[in-house]
């Protein structure tokens, strides 16, 4: 097709899978933005390194029954992997809210493209951020002596599952990012939810050491199941139950929050 013919052909063409290409284009946009704003990556680059070293050396000696921090690492790292990824999902909501505030989403909404594309594009683009945080955390862990004791295959499966969980959970933040007025508001709510969810779990210490109400709370949270699954995949242990519960949560999160997010996107003005 030459430039001359584009001039005369209306840009809008109804193609059955146009939304796929549109979503990929918008995911590309998010990746370009990351490259142009590397400082915005602090939460997925330095934070995992700092969290791992801090928690490992501060709590390692106290919590681990044998071997000090070296004994704590195989317990902590799979848990911290879950925490890191769960925390990085909220960036998706903050970023979307920002796009809305700046009027960039109005540009997308005024174009003849599928309604869902900007949301899928945002989520896919952020998958790159999640992957980055996973890679950096694991690299730090390996440098400190962590190994996939249950085999590399299961270890990698664990990484894929945690990424999948992040991609399911981020729909909560997509929804909140589209519903709330300011990015600060999204961040405030996110921290309010994230801290009890991650610290009130078995990420740092076994829940059996905690008071009854916290154990009850942990029973109804997906985090302990995902953490147990990751520990089992990376270090050995029963897989089936935590895997089924985790997958059920992933399906549930998408089934509930993706439609809510799409509805909020349609209504937001």
């Amino acid at each position: 097709m030459t430039t001359a013919t584009i001039e005369n052909v209306p840009a809008y063409r109804s193609r059955p899978f146009a939304w796929v290409q549109q979503s990929l284009t918008l995911a590309w946009r998010n990746i370009v933005r990351i490259r142009q704003n590397p400082e915005a990556l602090a939460d997925v680059t330095f934070q995992p390194i700092i969290f791992l070293t801090l928690f490992l050396f501060v709590f390692g000696g106290a919590i681990s029954t044998s071997g000090g921090w070296r004994g704590y690492l195989p317990f902590l790292l799979p848990g911290l992997l879950v925490q890191t990824v769960v925390f990085s999902t909220m960036g998706t909501g903050v970023g979307l809210n920002d796009d809305f505030a700046k009027g960039v989403f109005d540009r997308f909404r005024s174009l003849p493209i599928a309604r869902i594309s900007p949301l899928i594009g945002a989520v896919l683009g952020d998958a790159v951020r999640y992957m980055l945080s996973i890679v950096i955390l694991m690299a730090t862990g390996f440098a400190l002596g962590f190994r996939f004791d249950n085999g590399v295959g299961y270890g990698l499966l664990g990484l894929v599952i945690v990424l999948g969980f992040a991609l399911s959970m981020c729909w909560i933040w997509v929804w909140l990012g589209l519903t709330m007025k300011t990015a600060q508001g999204v961040q405030g709510i996110a921290f309010l939810v994230m801290f009890p969810l991650t610290f009130g779990s078995n990420i740092f210490a076994p829940t059996s050491t905690m008071p009854g109400f916290l154990q009850e709370f942990a029973k109804y949270s997906p985090i302990p199941y995902l953490v147990n699954l990751e520990r089992a995949l990376m270090g050995g242990g029963p897989i089936q139950k935590p895997l089924l519960v985790t997958l059920a949560w992933m399906v549930g999160l998408v089934a509930v929050f993706a439609p809510l997010a799409i509805r909020a996107y349609r209504r937001r003005t």
Binding site: M1, D106, R109, L111, T269
Partner: protein
């Protein structure tokens, strides 16, 4: 391909409410194909709400509108394929380069990668942004940013364009450049709806003008008609010596034939005039009386005065006076 009696944009009885606030209280408007409609109004008058409805970003609570013959609610996708939005209606991404913004829009519109790139290069060239094309948009000057906004809205070759205060904050050179571009687009048959704060801009570009106030259209017509409705020109004389105010007032009264208003605080004598013919008379009399003046000016009605005349209350935003004539 355009015939003058075709209608590009038509709205009937548009109503939009936010809670208890009525943003639009029944707006009708018609824009013939290939013409420019200027929309004037203070902040909160409903201009943006109206454009957002016509741009499919907002659904009206009542009334209906068609753009290019398509209903903005039921045939929103078709409307989107023929319109272009700029400025606060639809922003570019400030964290990406100008070129990438344009390529992204091309790709979203279904162009191939090569077509998107050549279209982006063509638009950057047209808007003299080629050198800045690879810098992120955040670093652009006000004028460059407006040109990029305009370029972004033109990727899909829209036949109907919504412009949001296209020259607010621009220096005269940049402003003339934007005006030239808009005129070129209109020559090519593009229909333009533009909001503006400047009567001068409306004069320069718009075929017809609408004044919004509190969600209603309070006046419409050609720019010249509105200005005539808004009132006549004003003659301002400010004597160097405040003690001369009374004598100046007498001279002006005699030359103009109307008793002028005397602003003692600002030492200013003002009188409404129909044209500039009384100005030489005033100059001659002042000279004969040996009265020095620091200001002697013939003013067109400012936006403030237009609003005052048309709506009965002042515009909320601080308008920029349009000064013409002598004595500046």
């Amino acid at each position: 391909m355009t015939t003058s009696n075709q209608v590009a944009i038509e709205a009937v009885g548009l109503v939009k409410k936010y809670g208890n606030t009525t943003a639009l209280a029944g707006v009708d408007l018609t824009v013939p194909t290939g013409t420019v409609l200027g929309v004037l109004g203070p902040n909160g008058a409903g201009k943006t709400t109206a454009v957002r409805i016509l741009g499919t970003l907002l659904r009206p609570d009542a009334g209906h509108a068609t753009v290019g013959g398509y209903d903005v609610v039921r045939e929103a996708a078709k409307v989107r394929s023929i319109i272009g939005l700029t400025g606060q209606y639809a922003s570019v991404d400030e964290d990406m380069s100008g070129r990438r913004n344009l390529v992204m829009i091309g790709r979203l519109l279904g162009m191939s990668r090569a077509d998107s790139r050549s279209k982006a290069a063509q638009l950057l060239d047209r808007f003299e942004l080629t050198d800045a094309g690879d810098r992120i948009a955040k670093t652009y000057s006000g004028g460059m940013r407006r040109r990029l906004d305009l370029a972004a809205s033109l990727v899909g070759n829209p036949s109907i364009l919504y412009l949001d205060e296209p020259t607010t904050g621009l220096d005269p050179h940049a402003r003339n450049g934007v005006w030239e571009t808009i005129r070129d687009l209109v020559l090519d048959g593009t229909t333009v709806l533009l909001t503006t704060q400047y009567l001068e801009e409306a004069d320069a570009l718009a075929d017809s003008l609408m004044v919004f106030d509190k969600g209603r259209v309070v006046a419409s017509g050609r720019p010249a008609e509105l200005k005539a409705q808004a009132g006549k020109q004003t003659l301002d004389v400010r004597p160097a010596e405040p003690a001369h105010l009374e004598r100046v007032a007498a001279i002006v009264a005699e030359a103009v034939g109307v008793r002028p208003s005397v602003d003692v605080v600002n030492a200013l004598v003002s009188a409404p005039v129909t044209d500039g013919t009384s100005l030489p008379v005033v100059v001659r009399r002042l000279d004969e009386a040996g009265i020095a003046v620091t200001e002697l000016a013939l003013r067109l009605p400012s936006l403030d005065e237009v609003f005052l005349a048309l709506t009965g209350h002042a515009a909320e935003e601080r308008p920029v006076d349009i000064l013409e004539g002598v004595g500046r």
